[in-house]
């Protein structure tokens, strides 16, 4: 009996907040708009708190790996050390202090850029293996589409924009904007329908992500 009451209370709160936020899009009343902004500010605060909780959880997981000397514990130790150093510096000097910006410009930015470069090499190697080892229709199709898109995107050699190069660019645009965009629109339509259905289910208390 008590559980039923609690769940009903939670569902009523979720339904009321959702309706007020949704109503703010359609009704231009100061009370409704003000209440919607208030709810949004609470949501932002909760999201920030959730980010802190996630940060603590991440640190705890890696600390456990270090304490148990699991595989890769050294990397976890480096992560915890970097976290502590950055956190202490940002807390004491501020996130926009020169030392914090130095860490970003000279550590984080090059490292993440290097990871992206490695990923490009890895993708290229994967493509090489696909066309070298698999001899079927799909590998052939992959090879043709990739070459066409690359040739249409890459700068032309020789310093000329001949008719062939123009044709390649048109072919590339046709592949990208017809085939790829058509598939992307289908995906976006599915995502929109799914988001709408999910929102309605939450508003009708069918889905209760806050607990039943």
């Amino acid at each position: 009996m008590r559980l039923i009451r609690l769940s009903a209370i939670w569902a009523a709160i979720a339904l009321g907040v959702g309706l007020f936020v949704l109503l703010g899009y359609f009704v231009d009343l100061e009370f409704v708009t003000g209440l919607r902004i208030l709810f949004m500010q609470w949501a932002v605060l909760l999201a920030a708190a959730a980010l802190l909780v996630g940060l603590v959880n991440l640190a705890a997981v890696h600390w456990r790996k270090v304490s148990l000397s699991d595989e890769g514990w050294l990397y976890s130790g480096v992560l915890i050390l970097a976290l502590l150093v950055t956190l202490i510096l940002a807390v004491f000097f501020g996130p926009d202090a020169p030392i914090s910006l130095f860490i970003f410009n000279n550590l984080q930015l090059p490292l993440e850029s290097s990871l992206m470069a490695i990923m490009s090499v890895t993708l290229l190697l994967a493509g090489f293996r696909v066309v070298a080892r698999r001899r079927d229709l799909f590998s052939l199709l992959f090879l043709l589409v990739t070459l066409l898109v690359l040739l249409g995107t890459a700068p032309a050699l020789g310093g000329t924009e001949s008719g062939t190069v123009a044709s390649l660019r048109e072919l590339r645009n046709w592949i990208s904007q017809v085939w790829a965009a058509g598939g992307a629109r289908g995906i976006l339509l599915g995502v929109a329908l799914g988001a709408t259905a999910t929102g309605l289910r939450v508003l009708m208390a069918v889905d209760r992500p806050y607990g039943s």
């Binding site: 899009y25 708009t33 919607r36 902004i37 949004m40 500010q41 949501a43 932002v44 605060l45 999201a47 920030a48 980010l51 996130p95 926009d96 914090s100 910006l101 970003f104 410009n105 984080q108 930015l109 490292l111 993440e112 850029s113 992206m116 490009s120 090499v121 290229l124 190697l125 493509g127 090489f128 293996r129 696909v130 066309v131 070298a132 080892r133 698999r134 001899r135 090879l143 990739t146 690359l150 040739l151 995107t153 890459a154 700068p155 032309a156 050699l157 020789g158 310093g159 000329t160 924009e161 660019r169 990208s176 904007q177 790829a180 965009a181 598939g183 992307a184 629109r185 995906i187 976006l188």
Partner: protein, 639 residues
């Protein structure tokens, strides 16, 4: 000088000799082990009768324990033993007539039995296993059953025909008459065989059964023969007493002289111990079947194996089913596995092929060299794009028409990993905006977005003389995801309270980013002149379109994208009612934008490296296709 007769060859030897001079057999009196036993016996206390345990047993001593210890009652003594005792009593009394003790035996049979016994006695010491352990001669053994039969009352010492076998009147056949009579199939009428009464025998009884009882094996004890203890003692005493009466050496240790009627070992092993038939019906020899198979093939009268084999009976297979628990079964399995593993030879570890990641390193080297070569050497050089995307002109005109008194908002929603591409693409647009002198503000929904914006904008700010706080300002990190974007679109000042990297004078004055000249007239998202979202992910682009689109009003929303995000964002731009007012995608479009803008920046700097890298990628893929084709052709040739 006394002589010692050799127990082996029977020839005389001096009493001082320890071994026989003729055959070398150790003489009994001289054996060390015999002397030791004798010394031990001498040292032992005498028995109840005052004699040594190894002293010859007198008949009186044999009977005495039975009588003193209560032994057997008179009524419990078997008949054959009673006859023996009566015979002994008659011997002591000098009487020779045992006919009363042997009903059913004729005088002739008695005489012949006595003759057989005389034969045994007349050849000297009773043979048998001598000190040396040698067997007796076959001729001596032939008389042994008769000796035993005499003990059972078939012969007498007082018979007149008692004589050694060599002196017998029937030496030609070698078989005494009494033995010939004993070989007859039917016993004498009225004769009662020792070992049982007539009623105990089956009809058509076995004629050899009494003989087997009398043929006690040499050296076998009563226990081995299955004879009761009391009977064995009595028999030994009886024999000793009989020999003593005849003035001879006690024959307790003297084995019978006949060869034991033994079965071959293999036949004895096959003999059924517990026969399924209580009474063995032995047919006449002619009626007995001849075994046709097996090791007994050709023999007549053997026990048939077929009834045992073919007789219906309960199968023992499956009758014993072990009740095994799962744990025991698992342990048994484990044990079996261990044994199997021990028995099985461990295969040699395959030799690991030292394989260098040639292709991986080669592709990485090609890519790096291709990207770095134009930067280091300036070659190869690629032509600037002669064609520009169709949306590029619209975007350029849009930016060119922006009101100069309203700030432009740049949203840096990409990770530092995408800096190489998006810095150059965003730089082209940023360069145009700053070139027009529009105030610029930045915000990000990513934690690294604020320093990323500072890093990117600083390059173009220095080019155009922008001052932090007055010409451009950074709002910083907008935490909260979609809700934060919704809140920022509705109430920017409520979503971001302070700002990021503000000048020291503003910090010291306690001012926020909203107090800067750039944003002092901004209270909503529509107060910006343009909102440009720089992102590498379609999700972020969709987030800003959906959450902030309704709050933009007449403010254009522009997307600066990486090439990978273009297909998923372009539908917002190419829709019948576009939700995006401009789109700038990829490095080629950025170079074209810079060309149109007339000022080159990062996009042009990275153009040659980008082109060389793309060309290297194409060549690598073509090389992979060629390598696969060559392998396929070679494989077909080998096949």
């Amino acid at each position: 000088m006394a002589e010692i007769q050799c127990p082996n060859c029977g020839k005389p030897n001096p009493d001082t000799a320890e071994t026989c001079q003729h055959c070398g057999e150790p003489l009994g009196s001289g054996s060390d082990w015999m002397n030791e036993i004798q010394e031990q016996a001498d040292g032992m206390a005498p028995g109840p009768g005052g004699s040594s345990p190894f002293a010859p047993v007198e008949p009186s001593e044999v009977e005495q324990p039975a009588e003193e210890n209560g032994g057997l009652a008179e009524g419990e003594v078997p008949e054959w033993l009673q006859r023996i005792r009566a015979k002994q009593a008659a011997d002591e009394g000098g009487g020779d007539d045992f006919s009363a003790l042997r009903p059913g035996f004729s005088d002739e049979q008695d005489q012949e039995a006595e003759q057989g016994l005389e034969t045994v006695e007349g050849r000297g010491p009773v043979g048998g296993v001598g000190p040396g352990g040698k067997d007796q001669e076959p001729a001596d053994r032939a008389a042994e059953p008769e000796d035993i039969r005499a003990g059972f009352g078939f012969g007498s010492d007082s018979d007149p025909d008692y004589a050694p076998y060599e002196k017998s009147a029937e030496p030609d056949t070698g078989i005494p008459s009494w033995l010939a009579q004993s070989d007859e199939p039917q016993p004498p009428a009225g004769a009662q065989p020792a070992g049982g009464t007539e009623s105990d025998q089956p009809e058509g009884g076995l004629p050899h059964v009494p003989a087997l009882l009398g043929e006690q094996p040499v050296g076998l004890s009563a226990e081995e023969l299955g004879v009761p203890d009391w009977l064995g003692e009595v028999e030994q005493s009886e024999e000793g007493g009989e020999e003593t009466l005849k003035g001879r050496r006690p024959a307790a240790a003297a084995p019978p002289d006949l060869e034991r009627a033994t079965l071959p070992n293999w036949l004895e092993a096959m003999r059924p111990v517990d026969t399924f038939r209580s009474v063995v019906q032995i047919d006449a020899e002619d009626d007995q079947t001849i075994e046709s198979i097996g090791p007994l093939a050709g023999l007549r009268g053997v026990l048939m194996a077929e009834p045992v084999v073919a007789m219906p009976r309960t199968s023992t297979v499956g009758a014993m089913q072990l009740e095994v628990s799962e744990r025991q079964y698992a342990q048994a399995e484990l044990l079996q596995q261990l044994i199997t593993e021990e028995e099985s030879s461990e295969p040699a570890a395959p030799r690991r092929r030292t394989r260098l990641a040639i292709f991986r390193w080669a592709i990485a080297a090609v890519t790096v060299v291709a990207a770095a070569l134009p930067v280091l050497t300036g070659a190869p050089s690629f032509a600037l794009p002669g064609l520009e995307p169709k949306e590029l002109g619209a975007l350029f005109d849009l930016v060119d028409r922006l009101p100069p008194d309203r700030p432009a908002l740049f949203v840096f929603d990409y990770d530092p990993g995408n800096t190489g591409e998006l810095d150059a693409v965003a730089g082209a647009l940023l360069d145009q905006v700053m070139g027009r002198g529009l105030p610029v503000a930045s915000v990000s929904t990513r934690p690294t977005g604020a320093p990323q914006a500072l890093y990117t904008m600083h390059r173009y700010a220095s080019r155009h003389g922008y001052v932090e706080g007055s010409d451009m300002v950074h709002l910083g990190y907008l935490s909260g995801g979609p809700a934060a974007v919704q809140l920022f679109a509705s109430n920017p000042r409520g979503a971001i309270l302070k700002g990021f990297a503000l000048p020291e004078e503003m910090k010291s004055a306690g001012q926020t980013a909203w107090d800067s000249p750039t944003l002092e007239r901004v209270s909503s998202l529509s107060d910006f002149s343009i909102v440009a979202v720089i992102t590498a992910g379609s999700e972020t682009a969709r987030l800003w379109v959906e959450q902030a689109g309704s709050a933009l009003g007449e403010t254009p929303l522009v997307m600066v994208l990486s090439a990978a995000a273009e297909p998923l964002v372009r539908p917002y731009y190419e829709a019948s009612q576009p939700q995006i007012d401009g789109i700038l995608t990829g490095l080629p479009a950025a170079v074209a934008y810079e060309q149109r803008n007339g000022r080159f920046g990062l996009a042009l700097d990275r153009w040659n490296g980008f082109g060389a890298g793309m060309l290297a990628a194409e060549l690598v893929l073509l090389a992979g296709a060629g390598y696969g084709l060559v392998r396929w052709v070679m494989a077909r040739r080998e096949a």
